[in-house]
């Protein structure tokens, strides 16, 4: 789809082409192709504006780099004269020493989630997938776009149908047919498409956080306990440092990063044992990314188990304790050994069929 869009722009013989996050759903090969096309266009005299959160891409393709922060123009520098760290500093407004937080969490032996032979009702989707997840672990799921990772985790969460397989939470077999079942089993899901099926744009932060926990804050069995709910929401805003004037603010007025934090708060308010995060930092600026990573590290330290789907290799390698790789719906391999967690190994498993 993305390739079609790019082809459209190229075929229109435009003099100026604006590309807004063009590589978010492209594989590495396709990114190379795009860059080749862009270099060709540049040689022909076409001017291009390339908007991206991906630092390495910007450094590779840009002649000049313009930085904006919070709606204001920070400045423009020739790409060769500004280092990656300087770019990040100017984007965030302060120095950011390590993108990935120090790993302090310990992985327990207890298996909190076991998935055996889970298959989709659709033959072309995930088939016969089995894996285990331990307490305090961050399990990364790598693979190309289209590997059916999202579909697999949505199947486990009860959004998509399964034709076979068993799921065990903390040793007990669970029958998850609907997200409500998954919630009751202690699982939360932060979807990859925030705007599509994550946030309620026209509702307040309070409503966005509270939506999944109302069952826990009731008076007389059916009256909403607003004071308690407000407390939970305010605590979340504090703890996760969500930038907003108040909890009554509409979530659509927040930045992508803050919206993501609201969704994380929603699930944390339920105190799940297992948190599935699908592309947790997609469309989020560097500063907020770092905050999300710190949140994930905190959660793992607290003993939560996290499954992280990521298409950003650096993120996958930087945050995962263990990596499962999928290709065309099958689980092609697991990488346990930190020394084996390399781009080459992941890509090899991701491109097996």
């Amino acid at each position: 789809m993305q390739s079609v869009e790019i082809a459209k722009a190229v075929s229109q013989e435009a003099k100026v082409v604006i590309l807004d996050e063009p590589t978010s759903s492209l594989s590495d090969n396709e990114v190379e192709t795009l860059f080749r096309i862009m270099n060709d266009l540049r040689d022909k005299g076409v001017a291009m504006i390339y908007i991206s959160h991906k630092m390495d891409e910007i450094k590779r393709i840009a002649d000049d780099i313009t930085i904006m922060r919070d709606g204001t123009y920070v400045g423009t520098w020739p790409a060769e004269e500004i280092s990656m760290d300087e770019i990040i500093t100017k984007m965030v407004g302060r120095e950011l020493t390590n993108v990935y937080p120090e790993k302090k969490h310990k992985i327990d032996d207890e298996v909190v989630l076991e998935v055996k032979g889970v298959s989709s009702i659709h033959e072309r989707s995930f088939q016969d997938v089995s894996f285990k997840l331990r307490k305090g672990e961050i399990l990364g799921f790598g693979g190309l776009v289209g590997a059916q990772r999202t579909e697999l985790l949505e199947g486990i969460f009860g959004i998509r149908g399964k034709s076979a397989g068993e799921v065990y939470v903390k040793g007990k077999k669970v029958n998850i047919e609907h997200p409500i079942d998954a919630m009751n089993a202690g699982i939360g899901l932060i979807t990859e498409d925030r705007r599509g099926n994550g946030i309620f744009g026209c509702l307040s932060i309070k409503d966005n956080v509270g939506i999944s926990v109302y069952n826990k804050y009731l008076k007389a069995g059916f009256v909403l306990d607003h004071p308690s709910i407000n407390k939970v929401v305010d605590e979340s805003i504090d703890k996760l440092r969500i930038k907003t004037p108040s909890s009554k603010e509409l979530i659509q007025n927040l930045s992508g990063g803050n919206q993501q934090k609201v969704i994380v708060s929603r699930w944390l308010a339920n105190d799940p044992d297992i948190l599935i995060m699908d592309e947790p930092t997609r469309g989020i600026d560097v500063g907020a990314k770092h905050e999300i990573y710190e949140i994930m590290e905190d959660l793992a330290e607290q003993g939560k188990a996290i499954i992280m789907i990521s298409s950003e290799m650096a993120e996958l390698l930087g945050m995962s304790d263990r990596i499962c790789v999928m290709c065309n719906g099958k689980l092609t391999g697991e990488i346990d050994d930190p020394k084996q967690m390399t781009q080459e190994n992941v890509m090899q498993l991701a491109t097996q069929f």
Partner: protein, 329 residues
């Protein structure tokens, strides 16, 4: 960036435009026609508002979930007719059930609301479980209810009601007509449901983003069925109220009332795009329509022209409503 004064004025006009027009109309009519600003007239307007508000509060749930309910008018008719057949004086010459004692008023109301709720539940089932768009599902129900009402009453107009039933419209409590009290109670209950129960929050969530609602663990299907069933029960109540007021009912009672109800909700702030709206929205909207109708009547405008006025208001209201949420790029 601070808004300029022009922008602020523009925003104000968009948000409250229709209400401004109403205020001007009311002031003008009050100034030029005697008796418009009288206690008697306002009581009359409040009485008219009562049944309309009950309908609007019911249909609000459907609009907040980005749906609609075309069957409201026909269900009002069904409610009014069923009530009519059960509450006729024993010695009425044209009594529908000649050998049956008239029912207790409260029992009759409960029965009417139950039957109507079932109609709504069926619509809700088709919408929630079989994914039929609300427009089509309620369109179908509209026809079915009309047909059922025709068969049931054999198209006979009903009248000769018991004094207990007509008292619903003529009786007063603390200077206010019973019907106004019914409307107040229904508004209070609806406010409670919208703001203090899970069901209310689920309703807004479904309206805001149905896919996100599923993922967030909202029982979407069940909630939708309840919304449409509850709405239909309220249409039944409104039919009961209208029948008491008129002292009679026919299969055409309430015909077309859904349009004004949806428009009233929209004027007051319920968005047809879903996820937004309050009880006050319905109250404001119904007040606007009833004041407009009364003012036009007092100004001597041809009764038939009222339809045009209603249509124009609907055009303006919905355009302004959509503008609020689309223009923000």
């Amino acid at each position: 960036m601070e808004k300029t004064t022009t922008q602020k004025v523009q925003d104000f006009l968009i948000n409250y435009g229709v209400i401004l027009i109403m205020v001007i109309l009311v002031v003008y009519t009050g100034a030029t026609q005697s008796n418009f600003l009288s206690v008697g007239n306002f009581n009359n307007i409040l009485l008219n508002m009562s049944s309309r508000l009950v309908i609007a509060l019911g249909i609000a749930g459907c609009v907040i979930t980005a749906g609609c309910d075309l069957s409201a008018g026909r269900i009002i008719g069904l409610g009014g007719c069923i009530a009519g057949t059960l509450l006729q004086k024993i010695d009425y010459s044209g009594k529908f059930y000649p050998d049956m004692q008239p029912w207790n008023v409260f029992l009759a109301l409960a029965f009417v609301m139950l039957i109507c709720a079932c109609c709504g539940a069926v619509s809700g089932f088709f919408i929630a479980y079989l994914h039929v768009p609300p427009f089509i599902a309620t369109l179908a129900m509209m026809e079915i209810v009309y047909g059922a009402n025709l068969l049931y009453t054999n198209a006979t107009p009903l009248g000769g009601y018991t004094p207990e039933y007509t008292a619903v419209s003529s009786g007063r409590f603390l200077f206010l007509n019973y019907q106004i009290w019914i409307a107040i109670i229904v508004a209070a209950i609806t406010w409670f449901i919208f703001n203090m129960t899970r069901h209310g929050k689920y309703m807004y969530a479904i309206g805001g983003n149905p896919q996100a609602a599923e993922v967030a663990g909202v029982p979407v299907k069940k909630t939708m069925v309840i919304i449409y069933a509850k709405a239909a029960a309220m249409y039944g109540l409104a039919g009961f109220m209208l029948g008491a007021r008129a002292g009679g009912a026919s299969v055409n009672l309430g015909l077309g009332y859904e349009m004004e109800a949806i428009a009233a909700c929209t004027i007051g702030g319920v968005s047809v795009t879903g996820g937004r709206g309050k009880v006050s929205s319905a109250i404001i909207g119904v007040a606007v329509f009833e004041l407009m109708k009364a003012a036009l009547q007092f100004l001597g405008v041809d009764a038939n022209a009222q339809w045009i006025a209603i249509g124009v208001i609907i055009f303006i209201a919905i355009s302004l409503d959509i503008r609020k949420y689309v223009a923000r790029k």
